[in-house]
């Protein structure tokens, strides 16, 4: 184990996987100088054939990824902020997500898309979307939201190495956060949630960027005598329904925490799954701590007011543990 920052873990994964397979290529805007630090050093090491700065043209970047992957390469592209995914959305939603099916499985599409998502730094509406729900609904694309440096490294390596198109989404607020990363070859399977804290009273399912708020909430709840179990979902597609439902079977209560807008969020999906498959275990309503159906405002105070925080989680979880709520 070595302590590393989240961004560094991603950078290592990229170095290792590009080093492993010479047919792995990476391109995107400013990947040479690395806007987020994650692609640093790749151009120097792997050269301008395999690592390329593109013009600003997300539609073509995403479309090229499909073409190059269909023609036999393992492709990594960087879309910078997750809001820029929209600019390349046709190639993602109509081509990347569908080409394998439409060709009757003639090809695999080993594509990994990097993007940074989420608010918290007054970047305003066009640089703050948490848009994993939009990607989750497309079908055919893996959606990964690791919350720790260890998971970031291990999941990215797995994603690059497998043959499915996937979005590897980095929470903007976690880039500088440190954590333990296993030394040597470290692969984390996709579609497995992790139980980050055990507890008997309420399950808190964390979606990506909210991990610190969720952990702080669990601490505060413990002080009030409520033991929360934290399930860190890690991967949204595929979704590990089993681990989530099993946790709720132990606790009987569920709060899902997600920085996405509430409408059709990952939180809503997880709530729906549990309302179906975990129903008999439920002792209280399922609560979602999400962003309202609004865009991120710029002003720090306004953004903070919109942003889900530990107190929101504590309030939701505490309410569920009161006997009168279940009857409400």
């Amino acid at each position: 184990m070595t302590r590393k920052r989240y961004t560094q873990a991603i950078n290592e994964a990229l170095h290792e996987e590009m080093g492993r397979d010479p047919k792995t290529i990476l391109f995107g805007e400013d990947v040479a100088l690395a806007v987020f630090g994650d692609t640093r050093g790749l151009l120097d090491r792997f050269g301008p054939d395999r690592v390329r700065n593109t013009p600003i043209c997300e539609a073509t970047i995403a479309g090229m990824a499909v073409g190059a992957a269909a023609a036999g390469y393992r492709v990594i592209i960087h879309m910078l902020f997750s809001n820029f995914i929209y600019t390349g959305f046709d190639a993602i939603a109509n081509q990347m997500a569908k080409l394998r099916l439409m060709t009757g499985g003639q090809i695999d599409l080993p594509i990994t898309v990097l993007a940074v998502y989420g608010g918290g730094a007054s970047q305003a509406a066009q640089h703050s979307d948490s848009n994993h729900p939009v990607l989750m609904n497309l079908g055919g694309i893996d959606v990964l939201v690791p919350a720790t440096p260890g998971d970031a490294k291990g999941m990215l390596k797995t994603a690059i190495r497998n043959n499915r198109p996937s979005f590897f989404l980095q929470a903007s607020g976690l880039g500088a956060v440190g954590g333990d990363v296993p030394d040597g070859e470290h692969l984390v399977p996709l579609g497995k949630a992790s139980v980050a804290r055990e507890g008997r009273d309420v399950t808190l399912v964390n979606v990506g960027s909210m991990i610190r708020a969720t952990q702080n909430a669990a601490k505060k709840l413990a002080e009030a005598g409520i033991e929360a179990e934290i399930v860190d979902v890690r991967s949204l597609v595929p979704l590990d329904e089993t681990t989530i439902v099993e946790s709720v079977q132990r606790t009987g209560r569920l709060v899902v925490i997600d920085e996405a807008r509430d409408m059709c969020s990952a939180a809503s999906q997880i709530a729906a799954v549990v309302a179906d498959k975990g129903f008999s275990a439920l002792r209280a309503p399922i609560r979602r701590v999400t962003v309202n159906n609004v865009s991120m405002p710029y002003a720090p105070n306004a953004e903070a007011a919109i942003f889900p925080n530990a107190d929101d989680i504590v309030r939701a979880a505490t309410a569920l543990c009161q006997p009168e709520v279940a009857a409400a």
């Binding site: 090229m64 499909v66 269909a70 023609a71 046709d90 099916l101 009757g104 003639q106």
Partner: protein, 339 residues
Amino acid sequence: MASEAVTKGQAGPWADEQIELLERMLLIRHAEARLAQTAKDVGLPGGVHLSIGQEASAVGVCSCLDVDDWMTSTHRGHGHFLAKGGEVDSMFAEIWGKSSGICKGMGGSMHVADFSRGIIGANGIVGGGLAIATGAALAAQLDGKGRAAVCFFGDGAANQGVFMESMNVSSIWKLPTIFVCENNGLSEFTVSSTVTAGKLSDRARAFGMPVEVVDGNDVRAVRSAAKAAVERCRRGEGPSYIETVTYRIHGHLEAEDLILAGGSYRTAAEIDAWRAEDRDPVSRFRALLAEEGICGADRFAELDQRAKEKVDAAVTFAEAGEPADTKLVFELMFVEPKA
């Protein structure tokens, strides 16, 4: 091929080549005529967009390609598929929605693809193939084997922004992309000139690309432009733009009359003018080959008959196929079917 001197003549490699071009065009023509008939008589699933009248463009270009050159196509993609060596049997089975279809019935008319022949596929999104071809061209460049990636698209698609983006990337990276604009003057039910500013070829020129605008109903003219472009790709000299001026004789799709409900976007006279013997790419080439003594009436009748038979056999093959395998959908999309 342009580098070897091929002597024209009534027999020999040159003549064989000409016959091959004609055969390929005949196959496309008969295949699509049959699709039209079947759509009318018994119906086919989904929408069918035919390229009748545009065969010279598909065949002229694809005749210059090797099996492992890449090609992306459009919603109007049967001709490109057959021209690049795709089989009419598995294409028909695909359109009939059968398991024996080239895409196992998952794609249909708008998505026929055959990767074993470099056919990345048709596309239901106008302009959808442009960036994909550019990506394949990037792969070709990295492979270093001199492959080219051809992207067919329409004059309507040339108004999509990805056209410019893909040309830009192809140019700066000197990718072996060949942009083939099939300019049939129509974008669905809109006359393209009413929605298109300037000359399309000038858009390509702005990216410093070699440009050739050719009579798209003259298979030799198309072929010679394509040959030059392919050779530039082989030599690592970057992308080219070819515009084939042509016309689609049939409607935008076979159900067009129903949709238009009496409205129209072109005159019968216009269609007739393009259908004329001396303009239609097939009859025109046939007449030329007859004149040159390469293909007389008997030989032609034989070729024509053989194409028809292939198409008949394809219908039989398609009809005999098993329906698509439903479970495959889940398998291909990496999802466990819900209980």
